[in-house]
Amino acid sequence: MRGASLLRLLGRDVRRDGSALAVAGFGIAAGTAALAFFLALGLGVRKALIGRVFVVDQIELQPKKGADPGMVGLLLGAQTPAIPPATVDALAKVKGVLHVYPKLRFAFPASAKGGKEALGRDVGTSELPGDGIDPALVAPELTPPGVFHDPLEHPGPACVEDKTCAAHQYCEKPSDAALGACSDPVPVLVSPYLVELFDKAIAPAHGLAPIGRSAIEQASKATFVMKVGESVFGRSKTGATRTMKVKIVGLSLRALDLGATLPLPVVRRLNREYAGEASVTAFSSVLVQVSDGGRLAEVVRVGEGLGLEPKDTRARDVAVLITAITALLSLVAAVMLTLAGANIAGTFRTLSLSRRREIALYRALGASQTDVQTWLLALAASIGITGGLSGLLAARLLAAIADWLARTRLPDFPFKPETFFAFPASIALSALGVAVLFALLGAVGPARRSAKVDPARALAGG
């Protein structure tokens, strides 16, 4: 059958049986709306959590807790368990592993204070835990990508004290060195958790204004002074207490949750200075990046064989939970669509019975069985498309209302997203495809039966 003829037939059907077809399409619209809404909600929540709060294409492995000597062990001279370079190499060879980034924890006490230029008053901590990570790990997420680097890659003139360097610099002079080199402030990354913790817990308690994520840009204008070799808990056994300038250059999920994260070469230098050569390659954990989340299980298995365990499985747990809830809600939508399909089947059964003679006439006038099926299935597809588009529109509307309610009625909470929904084209296309599929499934039986109408009998009135 030619397209123009089909369109003409469909147009006549809509004019004749518009209300019956609209009722049939309503079920499809409701089912599609539910499906699109739930899928968009699942994807939106996943987007809000995964990436912003959790990362799923990587896992951090640390020495098993059983290997920890504990306080008594440490007092007896035992070493804190660490990951040797050979283990890092072994993990890098696991299939699907893109990169292995070792983390090196501070092997020295430290504290920090500053930020007045940006925050209005100095803030600080008398005990600053920290670690070092490979700058390559975070380069893609920072602006500019190279902002997180070892400042001594390009050392300034030789110096013995800060005042001989430019105003924004400091003199980086190790404990046992006679001469240092002028250095730009060491870049520091902080975790988004830390900002959320400050904004939602610390700032209200101290009457401070929340700094927010955007204020990190402001903070980068401020310099902090980090004291190394000494903190509130005491002094390092080796090395001298000295200060260095640091500045926050960005937020990263790769940063230590509560502490400061510095470029790995800087921490290596400081560890060597305060804890000796062995502390330079005694990694506290490794961050393994994989090509996709499905590879993580194998990484964990190999890691267990190497005496490691996952530091945090929340990302995986959250991803599984979101997937399960989305699947459950989608099942509800699938039930709605099945009912809508059954409704369409009923409508088409009635429609084809009431048009039995008309169909027989078409057959007598040259329509083949295929023409009759094509016509009725095209009608069902039109209902599916119209119902599907209406459903998508309804889902977008419901999502907008839900977001507005969340913005205005829900209390503020950490990582509260601007929207709980994500509507990529793939959701629209999938929902539309499912709507058409269910409409066609409902109509296929009646269409086949209509095509097999005995024209001679139907025209004779039988």
């Binding site: 057959r363 006038l365 295929t370 001679a456």
Partner: protein
């Protein structure tokens, strides 16, 4: 040249549970091009069943039906449907017009299926004019009289200019005056072209006017 219609030993049996009813019994019939043949018989004699078999609407018969040399029983449905749309026009006793359409839209229904008909709208208007309904193209068929409706049905049958018209009691629902005008129309159409007519009727006026008549009695055919 092949005959237009060639029927050989055609039998058609309807079964309803254990009941078996022979409606056509060993019917053989040949119709040559340009003939106007009437099949006369009482109600229930099998006239409509025979026409349905000749038009390929019913193929559950035994024997052989050939139309323009083609064995209808052996044609696959799409090919048969296309062939029927192109070669056979049907006129029914109860018109079978679609009440939600206008006269010209009804005439154009065959153009929806099968091969495209060039300039179909113009042909449809011409067909309506030919049956005396010029100017009534956009009237709803509900607004037309019985005779006018049958004329619309005839115009619809003529749209694709088929070489064979199968008419099943075309005047059965019409009063005698209107029936006479329809007969006159058939005769005029027959004279004007080389269309072959096979008309099932119990209207003796049509039988008398036709070039040949056969009688169906209890499923058996007799030449008169």
């Amino acid at each position: 040249m092949d005959p237009v219609v060639e029927c050989r030993a055609v039998s058609r049996v309807f079964t309803d549970g254990a009941e078996r009813r022979v409606v056509l019994d060993d019917v053989s019939l040949t119709v040559q091009a340009g003939e106007m043949l009437t099949i006369v018989g009482a109600s229930g004699s099998g006239k409509s069943t025979l026409l349905a078999a000749l038009g390929g609407l019913d193929r559950d018969y035994t024997g052989e039906v050939r139309l323009f040399g083609r064995d209808l029983a052996k044609e696959p449905d799409p090919a048969l449907s296309r062939f029927r749309g192109r070669s056979v026009g049907f006129v029914f006793q109860s018109f079978h017009l679609l009440p939600h359409l206008t006269a010209i839209e009804n005439v154009l229904v065959p153009a929806l299926f099968g091969d495209a008909i060039d300039d179909a709208e113009r042909h449809a208007a011409e067909a309506l004019a030919r049956v005396g309904l010029g100017g009534r193209e956009h009237d709803r068929t509900e607004a037309l009289s019985g005779g006018q409706r049958q004329r619309v049905a005839i115009a619809r049958a003529l749209l694709a200019k088929p070489p064979l018209l199968l008419c099943d009691e075309p005047t059965g629902n019409l009063d005698s005056e209107t029936a006479a005008s329809i007969l006159a129309l058939f005769l005029e159409l027959h004279r004007a072209g080389d269309t072959t007519f096979v008309i099932a009727t119990h209207d003796e006026h049509i039988a008398e006017a036709a070039s040949r008549a056969v009688v169906l009695r209890e499923g058996r055919l007799q030449e008169t």
